[in-house]
Amino acid sequence: MSDFVGTGTLVRLALRRDRVLIPTWIAVFVVMAAGSAQATMDLYTDVASRVEAARTTNASPALVSLYGRIFDETSLGELSLFKLTAFGAALVGLLASILVVRHTRAEEESGRLELLSAGVLGRYAALTAALLVSTGTVVVLGLLTALALIGLGLPAAGSFAFGLIWITAGLSFAGVGALVAQLTEGARTANGFTAIVLGVSYVLRAIGDSSSDGKSEWVSWLSPIGWSQQIRAFAGDRYVVVLLPLAFLALLVTGALALIRRRDVGAGLVRPRPGPAVGAPSLRSPLALAWRLHRGSLYGWGFAFLLLGLLVGNIASNVDGFVTSDSAREMVQKLGGVQAITDAFLSTEMGMVGLLASAYGIQAALRLRSEETALRAEPLLATGVTRTRWLASHVLMALLGTGALIMIAGLGSGLSSGASLGNVGHQVPRMLAAAAVQLPAIWLVTALVVALFGLAPKLVTASWALYGLFLLIGQFGALFNLPQAVINLSPYGHTPRLPGGTFTLTPVLALTAIAAALLAAGLTTFRRRDIG
């Protein structure tokens, strides 16, 4: 039992540190679910309109791979929340694992945990406390969501099942967080591993869900997010599926505890190897240093984007297979034929890829701030390096990095859709163009980070909140009937919809100009402010 001494203290400490973060997140999720349900109920008042909406959704490979299938086309609850089932589960999973890493590895890395371990702390105390905080958070989040849905008049059993979808996703990824936190010495790397697991889970369920002939449906069962979806809230409420994520959590936690027994405080399982005793001749500029700092994560993201592009292109070429029933065929005709639907799918997916690439851009630009607060900017700026050059080195990594990522995804999707449609020469340039038009919006969001970094460095992480806001506006703006002026706030809404849509130069130029202005504002204010 002495291994767990101090767990209670650590739980209280963590809750104190996160007393704003956790309630905020819980509120965001509950409001998101309740808002989405309310809006849908207002929109679809009779069964017939719901069935039609559900059928249209299920006939669209873009929507099915993105959000998952609607299992019961008559169900109001399912229609209300299908956009938040897999997608929301992924977000809850992210939250849960970040919480675990934040209170284990990040603490260990900063040395704070060592300070505490020197007092009386069992060796499992930190992990146990982090898991209690994380799982407690998702359980509360799920239960409150269920209550909110019941309050809106949705069936109680289904509402609880929906809460369980989010809770189970949180539990699975709390387990993932527990394990990855033991593997590496850096919290950043640990979160990177989690993101990869999350991405792979999302893609696996996308493959399974969008399987047109049902042959590869089993792939969804390889994914923790897939398990959560299979609870099928409002469409059977299969509570028994909950056992799967619970077993997964138990397995991962057992593994993590075993790893803790075998390693020292502060160390990871992956021991760092010694490196070169002298700097390579090329390591002589801020840009060379920035490349060293960013390249690892860029390679990882690049690989993920290649797979994502190939996958998107591959699903696109299956659109034909979706059209199995007569009613679906009719719908396809109404929507402009197979070519138009394929293009619509590809342009939607390219938009999603653009959102993901922006996350990379934000993260890369935030390096500026983390380098500054970790006091690693100071020694560089005390050499012959000007502030402009230092800032430019990281900004360039963010801008070129997002450019490379989106073009890789464009190339991948062009190759795979072209290969199966038999027109690679035609499809690759189209998809590259579709990728390239995403860039101005991505750069604008990245530039927003830089502007905040110069103007209000303490608020720079608010860029994630702005990004989340743009994302919500894009996903739910129309559903919530937001005024056009608000919808227009999101830069992503102004991107030309390629392939298939018409390309207009004005929005692209406007977005680019705003991005440039934000960068200039960030640079000039950074040159005038104090470092630190």
């Binding site: 010694p274 070169p276 005793a277 700097g279 390591l283 100071e378 020694p379 005390a382």
Partner: protein, 299 residues
Amino acid sequence: MTSAIVVSGLHKSYGATHALDGLDLEVTTGEVHGFLGPNGAGKSTTIRVLLGLLRGDEGDVSLLGGDPWRDAAQLHRRLAYVPGDVNLWPNLTGGEVIDLLGRLRGGLDPKKRDDLLRRFDLDPTKKGRTYSKGNRQKVALVAALASDVELLILDEPTSGLDPLMEEVFRQCIEEERQRDRTVLLSSHILSEVEALCDRISIIRRGKVVETGTMSDLRHLTRTSIQAELSAAPNGLASLPGVHSLDVEGNRVHCEVDTAQLDAVMRELAASGIKSLVAQPPTLEELFLRHYEDDSVAAS
């Protein structure tokens, strides 16, 4: 005599905290200048202003003849800085950091680099996150000392070094002095400053309160005197520079400003000295006086 650093009337506040309150500092070219002061006195803040990392609110700052805010990058090529808290990039080795910083300053002497690595007993192949605090400090020190620059700005460079390494550091600074390099050395370690510095400045609550050579400052200290006389002293109490005088019959105990020692000894001798114990002045006293005032003021 030219000055490497001239600061006059410098003010800097962080919101409500007035970190620098009219600070004056002058560092002559070629000297090793000690910069002493209690925690939170404003040493690091002064250094950051000197490096153009912070902008002073008021006052004039000149560094190597230039304006550190306007000409930061050009001036930085002529100096090397060791921060108080050294943080390294987790994935770069110590050797890589040393070379990178050296090259960004405009080159470092490879022979000197290897020599310093050996003397500081530093393994350059380790990754940043695996160094201990002392070893991180050594990485920054080697990078600074191996650079070919005119001015070294060192903010508590020996914090975290073991006594053996402190000794190596002292030798290195001694060598720098012989090469006529200017050094600004902020420190808490009095013996270090006493051994190394030509002149020192003591800073307290954002102001320099004493500045001068070691012997100037010794003058500011007090010698403690205990004497047994043939007769009771009479004129002692009226002499300037005599403190906490305590006379018991023929026995006298007092503290004397070192500058006034001569007059006091004459007075004592006039009464006939039977025995005399004089405690030599230490800088520690002067220093503690300032430090203690500070903690009294703080509490």
